[in-house]
Symmetry: C2
Subunit: 340 residues, 2 copies
């Protein structure tokens, strides 16, 4: 005998089919991510499922549920930290982590949505800044919760998201350098189209202003978050006659590029140049010298996002945005300037 | 109307139930990984399923199949490279990568098997040296293929596995140093309980012998594959009055530890000390100076293993072992010795 949930579910699906003017099997096809339904019919059914509050937790749901995490690129040094965070939560709830690489830096690719509708995960963590409207609609109509994990700092306002305090991180990194007496401090922040790059740069500017220093536009650079970008900008900065005595590198990979530029030019770190990174991915503690850096709690961000997925949603509340604190980790790549 | 496969499958299950002296639902419970079946009955049913060649590809199989990869620890710098290899193959076959962290360095934990039997992946990549007998039996009886990805080099002989050429890698690393004129070459290999550590050490010994050099037992160390181990051994080695002019570090992380020890002691690399790593994980190219290292093709190893999973098995053939070649990548951490 079907349980009460099952009866409820059938009533809802029958209602949706009637209101959409289609058969029950057509509604099923949409629910199962099948492609043989016209886009217009699909969209109509999805809207109706959504408005009737159709609930995914049916008796046919898998016994070993998935939590899905979607990346633009697994290459990123962030990826492993985030995966570990999700795995920590999945393990505690007997779920399995499913992993997909898809799309561009901004949003997952269109091929991904069909797969996720078939897999029916407990929820989806998207490591992207934005989610296209049709993807949101499709996920919502199947009651598949989703949360954006957003180290880039530019979240969709109507989607729950977890980020970290980029402005405060930029401020802390730069204050550490001015507190040590540095007066010529360069910044190589991230790409100019990412909010996190701008927030870190503004933190840098405020720290200089607080220390009574002017911002020299010649010392402000936009990198690409990769080693090579850090290296190239650092070579230029360090070859100037009025070279900076400290560089805030905006990512640990860029900081590694700065260390290599210093080595090539024969400048010792931290004797002749101080370097601060950003992220505190594991390689930051393994560099030579170990990096002073701003810890972005990537693993905790992914844990928090996974917990948000598993919590029952409260329809009366607006989409939640959580920002976790960043903090400075002082290692051996920073010291007072030689002439300080 | 059930298809031909479905009919076949029912006949097999009915036969298994009859021969095991149990009901059909009991056979189903075993297939679905349920725990309410006695161990003896479970084992009997599994043996019968295996001998009747029960095939997992039933009409109820998921439409978006999983390829599962199981690690002892996601911490490892290897993990991401292996995940990327599986994801490359999964993407091409429309499968999704499921990820689990379980067990010890030797074998997956007992809690993992119940989950995987419910998930019914297309196949399982195990990043372990051995697989317990009961795990093998349970996977085989459900026709879930499995392959060991084995960077540690000590595979189970009756399980298909993919490894790489450790002895040849140790030889190539050491020959590169002796060819440059180094006569005092130390090795910090991996833990003594891993075959890969011993194979790399033997490659080192042979290269020294080929160069007409004796092996100085004082210069042979066993590390832990981590940065700290490399650092501690290198400090000791480099403080000796007859310090080596080159160190073969046995892993990239250990090599980073050697670089840091050299920095602390004021020795320039490669001017006063040459360093060779092993693995060629991405951080090897980002160190200062970039590391000369032996490339272990981790991503290709995982791709090869995933392809083995998806290939139909040939029951007449013995378990397959594939070893991919390693090769030396020369960067900037090695040079002829100063007095050479």
């Amino acid at each position: 005998m079907p349980g009460e949930d099952e009866v409820d579910r059938r009533v809802t699906l029958a209602t949706v089919a009637r209101e959409a003017g289609v058969s029950l099997p057509t509604v099923s096809k949409v629910l199962n991510g099948r492609s043989d339904v016209s886009p217009a019919t699909r969209a109509k059914i999805e809207r109706l499922l959504d408005s009737h509050g159709y609930c995914r937790r049916t008796p046919g749901a898998p016994q070993s549920p998935l939590i899905e995490i979607v990346f633009h690129e697994l290459e990123s040094v962030w990826a492993m930290e985030l995966i570990r965070g999700v795995e920590n939560v999945a393990k505690r709830t007997n779920a399995t982590v499913a992993l997909t690489e898809s799309g561009t830096r901004q949003a997952p690719g269109p091929e991904w949505i069909a797969g996720v509708l078939r897999r029916r995960p407990l929820g989806v963590l998207l490591v992207f800044s934005t989610v296209p409207e049709d993807v949101k609609r499709q996920l919502r109509s199947r009651a598949i919760p989703f949360v954006i994990v957003d180290p880039a700092g530019d979240p969709d306002p109507d989607v729950p998201s977890v980020g970290s305090a980029n402005w405060a991180g930029g401020l802390a990194a730069t204050r550490h350098l001015t507190d040590q007496g540095h007066r010529r401090v360069a910044i190589i922040t991230g790409p100019p189209d990412l909010m996190c790059s701008l927030a870190r740069l503004d933190g840098y500017r405020s720290a200089l202003t607080m220390a009574g220093l002017d911002v020299d536009p010649e010392l402000v650079r936009f990198g690409d978050f990769h080693v090579q970008g850090g290296y190239d900008h650092a070579l230029e900065l360090l070859r100037r006659p009025d070279r900076p005595t400290a560089v805030f590198a905006g990512s640990d990979l860029q900081a590694l590029g700065v260390l290599e530029a210093a080595r090539v030019l024969g400048l010792s770190v931290p004797g002749q140049l101080s370097v601060v990174g950003y992220d505190d991915v594991s390689l930051a503690q393994w560099s030579s010298p170990p990096l002073t850096t701003v810890q972005q709690p990537l693993q905790r961000m992914a844990e928090e996002a996974a917990r948000m997925l598993l919590r029952p949603p409260d329809p009366r509340k607006a989409a939640q945005r959580i920002e976790l604190a960043t903090h400075l980790v002082i290692r051996q790549s920073t010291a007072p300037p030689a002439d300080g």
